[in-house]
Amino acid sequence: MSENNVNLDLASIRARLDGARGRDYWRSLEEIADTEGFQDFLHREFPRQASEWEDVDGRRNFLKLMGASLALAGLGACTKQPTEVIMPYVNAPEGLIPGRPMFYATAFTLSGVATGVLMESHMGRPTKVEGNPQHPASLGATNAMIQASVLNLYDPDRSQTVSSLGEIRSYGSFLPVFRKALKVPEALPEEAPPPPIAGQKAASYRPPPPQPRDGKGLRILTETVTSPTLAAQLQDILKLYTGSKWIQFEPLGGHGERGGSQLAFGQYVNTVYHFDAANVVLSLDADFLGTGAAGVRYARDFASKRRVRGDRMEMSRFYAVETTPTHTGAKADHRISIKPSQMADFARAVAAAAGTGGAGGQAPVDSKWFNAMIKDLQAHRGAGIVIPGEHQSPEVHALAHAINGALGNSGNTVTYTDPIEPNPVDQLASLRELAADLDAGAVEVLVIIGGNPAFTAPPDLYFRDKLLKAKLRVRLGLYEDETSELCQWHIPETHPLETWSDARAYDGTVTIMQPLIAPLYQGHSAHELLAAFSDSPEKSGYDLVREYWQTQHAGADFEDWWKRSVHDGMVAGTALPAKTVTAKAPATQGAAPTSGGLEISFHPDPYIYDGRFANNGWLQELPRPMTRLTWDNAALVSPDTAKRLGLSGEDRVELKVQGHSVLAAVWINPGQPKDSIAVHMGYGRTRSGRAGNGAGFDAYPLRNSSNLTYAGGLELRKTGKTFKLAATQHHYLIDGGEQEAIEQKKRGVVRSASLSEYKQKPDFAQEMIEDPATKHLTIYPETFKYEGYAWGMTIDQTACVGCNACVTACQAENNIPVVGKTQVLNMREMHWIRVDRYYQGHPEEPEIHFQPVPCMQCENAPCELVCPVAATVHDQDGLNTMVYNRCVGTRYCSNNCPYKVRRFNFLLFQDWTTESIKLQRNPDVTVRSRGVMEKCTYCIQRISSAKITAEKEDRRVRDGEIVTACEAACPAQAITFGDINDPNSRVSKLKKEKLNYALLADLNTRPRTTYLASLRNPNPEIEAT
């Protein structure tokens, strides 16, 4: 049964959608076509084979195990508890209270750009990431990658020892070899520092500067560096080793941004967008709510302008022009797909219409749409944003700068600062230069710090082959990956949570990153490796970072300043000041060749990014926001193009661009532009570890240095084979009832309206249930009242950006296992909260809605009635509790749950054997074993902890004191949790909103989790088509 099939009759799907009355939401093309397979998914809690024994002699084994488990169940009850030991400290650290987590500020970096976080640490073990409320890039929230970064720390596949040509070595044996290759004079400076004289500070002694050394053959290759300390170290090395060069290369981010800034301003600048002040936003393929450097902050600001509450009836308007659907585009009021080659044309047309003076042709979109959009942008001069995609070409970036300048947005909603990188360069040009130097044999010593250039470099540079021409190749990396394979020395890198370092955020704010744990393995940080070039090769990372900041903040109060900066997770006053620059419209670079043939566009994967998180099981198993794919990437094709080329979902095809070809699996993607295929990078790793190896296909061979954004002239050949993809789009489907019922709006699972519809009819969300009067009907006397607390939750579908941060946060908080691709295909993924994605409208340009679904905590819970062992019952606060030690695994509860939010441990999904993974677990949550049902608990461990604190202080729990893991992580503040018995709590107020509705309320389950209907703000001029 294919999940993405799609020899479906598009014409009949269209006819059906045209015939639909009202709003018709669908989850996949199969649903509209109402295929048999879809019905099967809908009506069965688990797919047909989910509970089948997978080995051949299944029945015999089953009987054996049944017998054994019966016997063991009896015997197990009277075994003694094993003897355990308690190992107290010898000297307890100050301030540590065993059993209570501590939080330390540090930062997560992606492409060098920092987001401030607070790490939760249990007795020295970092277990969970929370956002840093003070940090401008976080404001307390995080995203999926940040949440999952803690799993990388404990990844058992991380490289653990220094190795040389496959042999285990020590750092001590590496240093002499390395320093000899650098031709460091053996003898250290003769003059020893004089003993400190009384009254004179020892620090004031400066050793004589070392003599410059020959560094003609020395090259250092890093990722983008924003760390002030690292940059200072590198500058010192460049000064000391004359002729040496420092190359930065990042495969995905920043090329267009840096190039565009040069084109528009003639200098490198950093652009900061202020979505909280923007009334109209136009995105030119920008995924600004997603993978971008400030995605967390931008999602918060963006959502703040979309929230309609009480009398405040205003929303910003968002136009998205995209080359592949992203979850950012899904939030747009008007979303349009164009081919990647048309993006520059489109930007040029906007620029011309905005009055930048440049020549613009015809925009490749509907002119009515275009004119209305331009009118809107011009009506909000100074309060609009035009934001180009991170991976878009320099020209599009430059045009966007010019448009923002012409519309008066610059200086208001779009501000510019000096670059956050100390040394911004054209990374592609410098990588080309390195490749040429390597080819010429001019490189003696090549040090590669982080990154994975052997995997990510454009294929036309032949970097893998040329790399081997360097005489000594040293690699510092978290994993022994594709690049380490080609280097003589591999030094394990410390994880950011094991490292002293520093980094800048999107606005320049510096965070001094502190380690949460001593290096688990023989790791060294980049700072420590670079110290090997100096005369104190074994200086610690702490000393290096601290000494750098001593030069920056001289003064008697350094100690205080340092402690405060490290504690706060940010250095006060380091956000870069806005500066005024004037953009000039770039010269037209000639219209891009519009071949009319197939095109291919390259995008960062939403979760594994450029491949660096490929071995992270949490991120691999996280359904991609739009495709719902896990464990693989795919060639995304629009339904029309698939029809034209005769492709079905899961067909294996060969993609060929300029002589390079790869094999990929097809996925039919509603909203994808016609004749353009989108691929996500980072998959197809061969040396990433057990989770990432063999997952997906590697698209980097298609991405030449001249076509970083997209390539034309794609040749596509069917191989006749298929490849199974694990998509979760049909898993745990909520049954919205029969088609007629939906059409009569009796049971809208997703409810949405435009702002004007809402103004006319504020209670539209209430009208969509069968009979509001039956809402509280019960045949039982109302004997039980929740008089203490009554926990409840609201989820705002207007705010939700579908980023899945909540899912990963829940996974980290609640010890949720990863099940693997085979088990995802069996519909056994364990996430306690899922984000359902609904389409509405035509498959080529659908409107998209997100709906996060955790346990509804029904007051009349259907699951409780059918449990034969009372393993799921209510507690005094109205929570639907799940008692693991009572559960015998009948799965009746799950069968009876209309929301399909219960998850069963079919197999031993938890890893009970890998020591390092055990360190990550939250000690406040049971680690579940095989045969047990589980589900969202509203983070009962956090509720308990807050209640105990409140009880001890003899008061009630304050509103906002309990923050569930999903709520804390949500960058858009879509989730609100609290006490619904308290009329002044945030959640009570939200539940009084007219937008509030309960899912499947006609079943009389009385869910505690309710939803705020989704609102959009379409332009009336476009809407009136």
Binding site: I86, P88, K952
Partner: protein, 217 residues
């Protein structure tokens, strides 16, 4: 051939087969119940071997050291804290400095390696007990741990079975003390414990928490 057995033997034999099975199952069940509740399974009253024969009887009973001198976090955290070696050495760097029994303590302090104490009160991993709330609500140490001041070597006084927990969780008035008597050993409850208990339950807002999520999550 005459019949050896009376006709009723048919019925009797059938009954006896069923009865044997039932009786065996009954006996088995009863034995199981006894065993599961026995001190053998719960490890109640069993003295555990420790690296240092630490005597609560001496330190608490004779010296009068307060519980909280060592179990520092009992009022603030779920875990009552096992003292770091430093706490032992506060006194034992001055007294009994050459005692061979204390060598493991000194060795720990010298080598910076923890002393490996055997855990005495060991709840299953799916039980989340919190000391601080019990202590703050007026449950005496003695109520669960017994007369620690009379225990030369530590053992588990209560069975720690769930029914034992529930007895108090359902009827806290039977056991609660005034807050100033929580850390007192040898406290004698007043004759009108139930009257006082009910008053304390009301005054200190003590809840009867017997839902699953109170302890299991």
């Amino acid at each position: 051939m005459p019949q050896i057995f009376h006709y009723s033997a048919n019925t009797l034999s059938k009954i006896s087969i069923v009865a044997t099975v039932l009786v065996l199952a009954g006996v088995g069940g009863a034995l199981f119940e006894l065993l599961a509740d026995s001190g053998y399974a719960t490890r109640q009253n069993e003295i555990r071997e420790q690296p240092v024969p630490f005597s609560h009887s001496h330190h608490v009973g004779s010296m009068g050291i307060d519980c909280r001198y060592c179990h520092t976090t009992v009022e603030t955290a779920g875990f009552a804290n096992i003292p770091p070696t430093k706490t032992c050495m506060n006194c034992h760097s001055q007294i009994w400095v050459n005692s061979p029994t204390l060598e493991p303590v000194r060795a720990s302090y010298r080598s910076d390696q923890s002393i490996e104490w055997t855990r005495v009160h060991d709840l299953p991993a799916f039980v989340y007990f919190n000391h601080s709330i019990h202590v703050n609500k007026g449950v005496g140490c003695e109520t669960c741990h017994g007369r620690v001041d009379q225990m030369p070597l530590m053992y588990q006084k209560a069975s720690l079975e769930m029914r034992w927990c529930l007895d108090c969780h359902r009827n806290p008035e039977k056991y609660v003390r005034p807050k100033d008597a929580v850390f007192k050993m040898g406290y004698v409850p007043p004759e009108d414990q139930l009257v006082m208990g009910n008053r304390l339950v009301k005054e200190n807002n003590i809840q009867r928490l017997d839902t699953c999520y109170t302890c299991h999550r």
